[in-house]
């Protein structure tokens, strides 16, 4: 897969959640170019063109990042902080999609510049609706800055 043309980047380690998310996005016909990164360290490599993503075109950023918080190696909030404090990645819309309703996470997430904070519901129907709304909103209505 060409990592240079990515509409949605999903950083998620839980395969089940990932499958459900992808299903929801597909069902709603969003996302042709979806890229998934299953751990924090790799996500960092992607964003800053290091390691495995050394040759990534840094000018081509994903239209949206769906970020889980609980990740192996580097956690979601750390990744968020790095993205939002780097000029190259600062403008990428980041939606936090997580199981946690912990207030501290929510507050911290927004503080670090998360564009939205969404809790994954247990109820599958609700989950489908949430993801559809999320994808529609960010991909269709928001024009990312050039």
């Amino acid at each position: 897969m060409d990592t240079n043309i990515i509409d949605i980047l999903i950083v998620e380690d839980n395969k089940n959640d990932l499958e459900l998310t992808l299903r929801a996005l597909k069902k709603n016909n969003i996302a042709n170019h979806i890229h998934v990164i299953p751990d924090g360290a790799e996500a960092m490599d992607y964003f800053f063109g290091t390691g495995k993503y050394l040759n990534r075109n840094m000018s081509q950023n994903p239209k949206m990042v769906i970020l889980d918080l609980k990740l192996p190696k580097v956690d979601g909030l750390e990744i968020l902080r790095k993205i939002k404090s780097d000029e190259r990645t600062k403008a990428i819309p980041v939606v936090i999609l997580t199981s946690s309703k912990e207030e501290s996470d929510v507050v911290q997430g927004y503080k670090l510049g998360a564009n939205s904070f969404i809790v994954k519901p247990v109820d599958f129907d609700k989950f489908m609706v949430t993801v559809r709304d999320l994808g529609m909103y960010w991909l269709l209505l928001n024009e990312p800055p050039k």
Binding site: N14, N16, D17, E19, L20, R23, L69, K70, T98, S99, S100, K101, E102, E103, K120, P121, V122, D123, F124, D125, F127
Partner: protein, 726 residues
């Protein structure tokens, strides 16, 4: 024979009488020293006794004599003039005080008092020169004589019937002029006066006859009014003085010249003795008396002065003696002298006072200092010291004890030093001081010092004890502080542990919220996928079973959510403010209740007072309680929900009452427990966390919560909160 001769004779003759007289008259001198003012009168024309000088002033022998007397006796005299008859009358009537020249006659003695005579004159018969036939007084019997009216001569001739006819004139001058002119036979007057008058009048041819006139002798005196004895005494005294001091003789010489030569016959001498000497003797006697009196007075005065001086000295000495004695008494000291030569001892009163005896009680014998009063060993000590001083001259100073007469034991201090005369010790002077009081004070002082020391020791001991106690207390305190520190550090440790535990709990909650929900999501999600993608391959039973899986997954999700919510309550920080409970309860009710439910619910919300607490938490309380009330009364055809508040003291008791299924009070303990349910899940949905959350919130707001209920009759939930602080 002059007055001095008289004086000598008289002094010899009467000297024996003088002393007694002087003594009796002493102190009779009442008028001396005072100035007396008197008025006298004089005839202008009775030379040489009384006359007027060229300046119109009174003069003459009598006047001058009177002045001398007056001067001597401090008498101020005013002299008037008048005819003899007039002035005689004036004196008798008291208009004047004295007449300087009055012949003393029996007739006059009735009217006046007289000084002793200062001049005696004899009468004389004056005839024209060549007259014959008058050789004696008897020869005048058939003659006519001229006299001055009121004069002694008139009195004399009338008294003795001397002449056949008596012619009177106002003055003797007139009488002599008549006689010189050839009228009458003779003039009788004082012989001296007559001669002088004739000379003054320049009448020749008139001579005095040498006929003695024994019965016509005149003693001339100063006269005062009858009874004026004070003035009389003064004049007598003055007269004596002028005679005694020679003034009389000087005046006499001035007016009469050298003595008229007289022949002193035996008869005359007798007469002289009788008529002159006796008065003179009397006079001299008086003078002597006076002089002696003066002498005695002055001697007495001097003697008195000497006596006074002596007395003064004696008094001073006595005062000093008293002072010394008093001083000795007060200061309890005494003095002694030991005469080395005679061995005689003299003690002052102070020494006796120290012995407690009077000076009369002990007569110091030889070498006796009252040593018997001393206690035996001190007696020896004193004797030794004294003999050493006598031998060497070295002074001594001893403190000794004696038993005084009244039995008190006294401490005395005595010192002695030698007195030298010509290099030899003649006496030992010493003093004795009663130092009992001093000793007593010293002993008291020593005792006091001792007491003080023991007191100080006692106090010091007490203080030390206290200090020790304090030290112990301090030690105890230190231990306590140590304990406290230990406890504090333990507490700190505990706190740290607690914090760690809290963190672990947080981590746990976090895990729960993330990790526990993920599988559930997977269960529900994949069940749905199965249902969606494989619906054609599943029969109805298969679909039902999948639904059960899905429902339980969702339920598990709710349980986890509630559990997290509950655990978050303990950690969430509260913000206290005043909460409008009425509005809040009403709002919650409106949101918790569907329109359908509202139709069958009677919601009674009383005007409940505001509360003080965290408003978002409070909202949660109302959500849970109201939704419970709705839920548990949902089986009733007509639901009743009542919210109210009772105020008790400083607290508000809020309540919410429903008419639902209620509960059995038997299980009241389980009502507020987590995941505790009193109803079957099939009857009422729920996780069993709602009331646990209510209780947790109310407790955190310093309140409490409880409930009352009865099966099928509804339940009432109470919660108490402090009144809102206004």
């Amino acid at each position: 024979m002059n007055n001095k001769t008289h004086l000598v004779i008289l002094v010899i003759l009467f000297s024996f009488a003088c002393y007694t007289h002087a003594q009796t008259n002493q102190g009779n001198d009442t008028l001396s020293g005072k100035i007396i003012r008197i008025t006298i009168a004089s005839e202008p024309d009775y030379p040489p006794f009384c006359l007027v000088d060229k300046n119109g002033k009174a003069d003459g022998f009598s006047i001058e004599l009177f002045k001398a007397i007056a001067k001597e006796e401090h008498i101020v005299t005013t002299i008037k003039f008048g005819t003899w008859v007039k002035i005689k009358q004036d004196l008798a009537e008291g208009k004047i005080n004295a007449l300087p020249l009055v012949g003393r006659t029996p007739e006059r003695e009735a009217l006046y008092d007289f000084t002793f005579p200062y001049l005696t004159l004899h009468g004389g018969v004056f005839v024209r020169e060549g007259t014959k036939g008058i050789n004696s007084i008897a020869d005048l019997k058939d003659k006519t004589v001229i006299v001055m009216k009121g004069d002694n001569a008139e009195e004399f001739v009338r008294r003795n019937n001397i002449a056949k006819t008596i012619i009177t004139t106002h003055t003797f001058a007139a009488a002599f002029r008549l006689l010189a002119a050839g009228s009458y036979d003779a003039v009788i007057t004082q012989r001296v006066l007559g001669i002088r008058l004739l000379k003054d009048l320049n009448i020749d041819g008139i001579i005095p006859l040498n006929i003695p006139m024994d019965n016509f002798r005149q003693d001339f005196c100063i006269a005062v009014k009858k009874g004026d004895t004070a003035l009389l005494a003064k004049l007598n005294e003055g007269l004596s003085v002028v005679i005694a001091n020679g003034t009389y003789d000087k005046i006499h010489l001035k007016w009469f010249g050298p003595d008229i030569k007289e022949r002193y016959t035996y008869n005359n001498l007798i007469k002289l003795l009788i008529y002159i000497l006796i008065p003179i003797i009397a006079l001299l006697l008086l003078i002597a008396v006076y002089t002696l009196r003066k002498l005695v007075k002055s001697r007495t005065k001097r003697l008195n002065e000497e006596i006074l001086e002596h007395k003064k000295t004696l008094n001073a000495l006595h005062s000093r003696q008293i002072l010394l004695t008093e001083m000795e008494k007060v200061s309890k000291v005494g003095g002694w002298v030991h005469d080395v030569v005679t061995n005689k001892v003299t003690l002052t009163d102070g020494v006796y006072a120290i012995f407690g005896i009077s000076p009369l009680e002990m007569d110091p014998k030889e070498n006796d200092f009252g040593l018997d009063y001393l206690i035996a060993e001190d007696k020896t000590l004193f004797n030794l010291a004294l003999s050493q001083t006598i031998a060497t001259g070295e002074p001594f100073d001893l403190e000794l004890q004696l038993n005084s007469a009244d039995g008190t034991l006294k401490w005395v201090r005595t010192s002695g030093h030698a007195e030298y005369n010509n290099g030899k010790i003649v006496s030992i002077f010493g003093n004795v001081i009663d130092i009992s009081r001093q000793r007593e004070v010293e002993s008291n002082l020593r005792k006091l010092t001792g007491d003080l020391e023991s007191l100080v020791n006692e106090r010091t001991a007490e203080l030390n004890e206290k200090v020790e106690k304090l030290n112990k207390s301090q030690q105890a305190m230190l231990y306590m502080v140590e304990d406290l520190n230990r406890v504090t550090s333990e507490l700190k440790q505990e706190r740290q542990n607690l914090e760690t535990a809290n963190k672990e709990l947080e981590a746990f909650s976090y895990s729960v919220s993330h990790d526990l929900r993920a599988p559930l999501r997977a269960m529900d999600g994949f069940t749905r996928i199965l249902q969606e993608d494989y619906a054609s391959k599943l029969d109805d039973e298969g679909k039902r079973l999948l639904n059960i899986v899905s429902d339980n997954a969702k339920k598990m999700g709710h349980l986890i959510d509630d559990l997290l919510k509950f655990s978050r309550l303990s950690r969430k920080e509260l913000t206290f403010s005043e909460i409008n409970m009425y509005d809040l309860a009403n709002d919650v009710y409106q949101q918790s209740c569907s329109d359908k439910d509202k139709g069958k619910i009677e919601f009674r919300l009383h005007n409940i007072p505001p509360a003080f607490g965290d408003s978002s938490m409070m909202r949660q309380v109302w959500v849970n309680l109201i939704s419970n009330a709705i839920k548990f009364s949902s089986h009733k055809a007509k639901q009743l929900i009542e919210i109210g508040c009772n105020t008790e003291g400083s607290q508000n008791h809020y309540y919410i009452k429903d008419n639902g299924d209620g509960f059995d009070m038997l299980y009241i303990n389980k009502l507020f427990g987590v995941f505790q349910r009193l109803h079957a899940e099939s009857d009422f949905e729920g996780t069993g966390v709602g009331l646990a959350i209510v209780q947790r919130i109310i407790l955190r707001m310093n309140g409490r919560v409880w409930a009352e209920g009865k099966v099928d009759e509804g339940a009432t939930f109470y919660f108490v909160l402090p009144k809102a602080n206004k």
